[in-house]
Symmetry: none
Subunit: 212 residues, 2 copies
Amino acid sequence: MVFILADNQDITREGVRALLEPLAPGDSIVETSSRAALMGQLAACPDAVVVLDYTLFDMSDIQLMNMKQRHPQSLWLLFSDELSRHFLRQVLLSGQAFGVVMKTDSRSDIITALAKAARGEAYLCDLAAQVLREGVPAQGGQACLTASERLILHEIALGKTTKEIAYAQNLSFHTINAHRRNIFRKLEVNNVHEATKYAFRAGIIDLTEYYI
Amino acid sequence: MVFILADNQDITREGVRALLEPLAPGDSIVETSSRAALMGQLAACPDAVVVLDYTLFDMSDIQLMNMKQRHPQSLWLLFSDELSRHFLRQVLLSGQAFGVVMKTDSRSDIITALAKAARGEAYLCDLAAQVLREGVPAQGGQACLTASERLILHEIALGKTTKEIAYAQNLSFHTINAHRRNIFRKLEVNNVHEATKYAFRAGIIDLTEYYI
DNA sequence: TATGAAATAGCACATTTATGCTATTTTTCG
DNA sequence: CGAAAAATAGCATAAATGTGCTATTTCATA
């Protein structure tokens, strides 16, 4: 069994390693601190358990799902600081059985999550379990945005520029720009501020994310 | 020597412990995850080395300085995720010789910082050193915006354009533009989104206004 | 199977932002 | 009083936004 610790903070990898080593003696633990390195490691070992800090890894939802789809045997344990309900809904309801544990969870919870991951089981932290229980949001009809559009609106509301979003998602500036206009047209707004207000009202972004 | 690891994330304390144990054999390592517990530990051991995640510990600048002043023999190593230049300036120029290392720093940097802390020396990460070199800011205080600037920041946070603000206040575009740059410079931001976040945090705008 | 919606990508251009400068007048305060 | 901010106003420019178009590919489904 190979564990890949994907986190750009040395100290966090150190902590996970300290918990993991007694738990999985004989297994190898690889550390990566960049997306490119992670892809390389995954190619070399497609059935690894990936312990990923999503937020620190500068990775979009879409890239995450792509990576999982490209290596369907890989097991993913999301291990982040703060995860929005929106993002969790996105990931958990997309059919991918990710495990989710928070950095703020207790040592024993994290150990449980790692042990489960090593056995191929999913561990869900309280928030993730709650989001999963809530299921598909009621969505009273008029939310006419597509999934990609909601994703992009989320980035816009976080203050990302068109170029930044395009780069992060490996898409053309023009594509994101087109999405942006479609969003604006559907929402009947014509600037970022109004779009952001909608995103707040629709729960596509919330204050806790916004503040960070 | 007693080390107190003050952080509310189990995983980070685990990582620091893993680095610290081979570095300081025989010394005792205490972990605390609340401010009250930290104060108790400090009372019991006033010359401890405190490794503190300031941002996660829900501690204001003032409380931090009070604690240091109450236990002048204690040595403090700030160990956080993100520290604003403003906060660093506050802490470093207040005469307290805090060591500062970032969670995003490399393993070897963190080890150096811990080793120095154990010897009673201060380690400064790049950002902290830079802030210290820059010296005293022109303005000693923080909420340094003038009344006009706060007013204009309010309008900016409401999504008004420079032209709109100028027209509404019967002033030149250039004047509002100048105010805008002064605001951005003082807040150390460089776009409307970051400025708006500050406006929320500082109470210059609130959600009820924002939503209308 | 065909129709349309969604996702992708491009060109062009006016507007706005963000930031580099300078400079005068007014206010504030030691 | 006199120095230091603050408020006012300007020029110039790179970058980004907002919006007018077109066009291909993919995919769901009526």
